[in-house]
């Protein structure tokens, strides 16, 4: 039944049997499930989406222009936090990896491990929000609250470590702002112990619910070739069955010393690359993140949390492009320096921006309710799309 509904072109006589008129529907900028201020200009034929034109830029905060007007490289970090504000640690990690590659700084081992723990926590946080809001898009409100409840526990750990709950400014070029507190390892371990059963509960409540599967399986199928051509990344790419994770394939930090799996979409409930696969990749990634965190905490070496840095950070003239795997996908920082203390140009390749650009390609022929499901499964944060 769904196969025919998602591809109206395949319905015999579609568009011919009845004289119908298309209607333009304005979804957003204020709409409950556009996840921010996104405007979708939807051309609909009844309930069926004929075309989608996303309009973005409502949250444009001139990140790149700001960067060119900073007094030093360090000041970019609070701004980088504010791009993908649900996973600020990952953005910071991307930026410091790029800046350190630019400055040819080697940071202490302890810093790398703490960064990995924080980035993985941030992945859990981001995926919890993605999953919770996705449930809400589909109509289930309760999983969202459960996700937020667990997220708070991670934020407590963040707050205890760096003093902020959302926008951390924790990872600095060459180190961290604070060392972790003495009871950090215990807290992290107790969280991991708490968190595994709640994933199972989430699965019971939402992931394997028949209605949820019906709503997401076979919806918004993104085939492998299209995914690569649109250069989507992160769970969206892996949902399409591509085993590609920068943490393994283009390793940075200490991910090569940690053991984890890359979950990919297998089309267990429908077609490979449908919304359910993308959703399930996130669930499995959270489990993997818990694994990574436990290993990293066990391996956490002692030492200093600041590399020796020059007083003024002033890279040589040149450029670098560094990419890291954030929860949303491949976050790239292209930094060009002219030798001064201010970046000449910082361009951010935002994963959400790229993933969103694939939305029209996969939502044509779906229904309005599917459009919401597809958008939720792509998991965009408008702060990062618009920058």
């Amino acid at each position: 039944m769904q196969e025919t509904m998602t591809s109206p072109a395949g319905v015999p006589g579609f568009g011919r049997a009845l004289k119908t008129e298309e209607m333009v529907l304005n979804m957003g900028p204020q709409h409950p499930s556009t996840h921010g201020v996104l405007r979708l200009e939807v051309v609909v034929d009844g309930e069926i989406v004929v075309d989608v034109v996303p309009h973005i830029g409502y949250l444009h905060r001139c990140f790149e222009k700001h960067c060119e007007h900073m007094t030093n490289y360090q000041q970019v970090i609070p701004y980088a936090d504010r791009m993908d504000y649900v996973a600020a640690m990952s953005n910071e990690l991307g930026y410091v990896v790029a800046a350190e590659r630019m400055l040819k700084i080697k940071v202490p081992e302890r810093v790398e491990y703490i960064r990995v723990i924080m980035a993985e926590f941030s992945r859990i946080v981001s995926h919890l929000i993605a999953i919770g809001t996705y449930g809400m898009d589909i109509g289930a409100f309760t999983p969202f609250l459960y996700c937020m409840r667990d997220r708070e526990r991670v934020l407590d750990i963040f707050e205890q470590t760096c003093g902020a709950r959302l926008l951390y400014n924790y990872m600095w070029i060459g180190g961290l702002s604070h060392d972790v507190s003495p009871d950090f390892a215990d807290k992290v371990k107790s969280f991991c112990k708490y968190f595994r059963p709640t994933i199972k509960e989430l699965n019971d409540l939402l992931s394997y619910n028949k209605i949820f599967i019906r709503r997401t399986a076979n919806v918004g199928v993104l085939p492998r070739e299209v995914a690569l051509n649109y250069a989507v990344s992160g769970p969206v790419l892996r949902g399409s069955g591509v085993k590609w994770d920068l943490r393994k394939n283009d390793s940075y930090s200490v991910y090569d010393k940690l053991d984890f799996e890359i979950p990919i979409g297998a089309g267990k409930k429908g077609t490979v690359g449908d919304c359910w696969d993308r959703y399930m990749v996130r669930i499995h990634e959270m489990e993997q993140s818990v694994n990574i965190i436990e290993q990293a905490v066990d391996k956490l070496p002692t030492g200093d949390v600041q590399a020796a840095l020059p007083k003024r950070i002033r890279p040589d003239a040149g450029e670098t492009y560094a990419r890291t795997e954030t929860p949303k996908g491949e976050l790239g920082y292209y930094i060009v320096s002219d030798g001064s203390a201010t970046p000449f140009r910082i361009k951010v390749k935002s994963p959400c921006f790229v993933n969103l650009s694939a939305l029209p390609a996969i939502s044509r022929g779906a229904m309005i309710a599917d459009l919401v499901a597809i958008l939720g499964s792509i998991d965009i944060v408008l702060g990062e799309v618009d920058r």
Binding site: M70, T71, Q74, Q75, V76, I77, P78, Y79, D81, R82, T142, R149, E152, E159, Q160, T161, C162, G163, A164, L167, N169, S177, H178, S181, E201, D204, L205, L206, Y208, N209, K210, I211
Partner: protein, 195 residues
């Protein structure tokens, strides 16, 4: 046909599993708190409202330089050598009057970048987080302890001192030119201060 019945059966079963989960939660204690009545204890590193201890501020402007959103405004007046502004609690000698030290807390992004460069540790983030105001102007915090009159006085004194110095320098230069062409540099009142 078998698939149809399996689907219906799965539909019923998974609904019941979900209902079991929510039923269990109906009797677990809530995790939320009654906020204004009950407050969570903030960790000691909590970063909230900025506070400046003006007794320790030497007016070095480093916090304003470090601020990524330019929410700190500092103006300074050089003191004349005859005035002793005292020492900070860490023993640094104060050489500048600070008549203006404004923080626009509405702009502040709580990144704490201003806290680290401070040589006397006088600017810090406190754990006060309830400071909303009805009027946006009230969010500009004036930390400076000097009154406008005192600032004027200091400015006037500095101007007089500069004039005196310039006159001395001119006299010295004239004298030097008269005696021999080897000019001696005039003593600068504040050799360390760059402001």
């Amino acid at each position: 046909m078998g698939r149809y019945f399996r689907d219906v059966w799965e539909g019923i079963v998974t609904v019941l599993i979900g209902m079991k989960v929510t039923w269990r939660h109906l009797f677990t204690p809530a995790v939320t708190i009654q906020y204004p009545d009950v407050k969570l204890k903030l960790p000691e590193r909590a970063r909230n409202r900025l506070y400046v201890n003006m007794d320790d501020c030497i007016g070095c402007d480093q916090c304003a330089m470090a601020c990524p959103v330019d929410c700190i405004t500092i103006e300074t007046i050089k003191s004349t050598p005859d005035v002793d502004l005292g020492l900070t609690s860490v023993g640094t000698k104060k050489r500048l009057y600070v008549p203006v030290f404004d923080i626009d807390i509405a702009k502040c992004c709580y990144c704490a970048l201003c806290v680290y460069p401070c040589p006397t540790e006088c600017i810090k983030m406190t754990d006060v987080y309830e400071f909303s105001e009805y009027n946006r102007e009230n969010l500009i915090y004036n930390f400076a302890t000097m009154t406008a009159a005192e600032a004027e006085q200091a400015k006037a004194r500095l101007a007089a001192y500069d004039k005196e110095q310039a006159a001395k320098k001119a006299a010295a230069a004239a004298a030097a030119a008269a005696v021999k062409p080897a000019p001696t540099p005039a003593p600068s009142p504040n050799p360390d201060s760059k402001t």
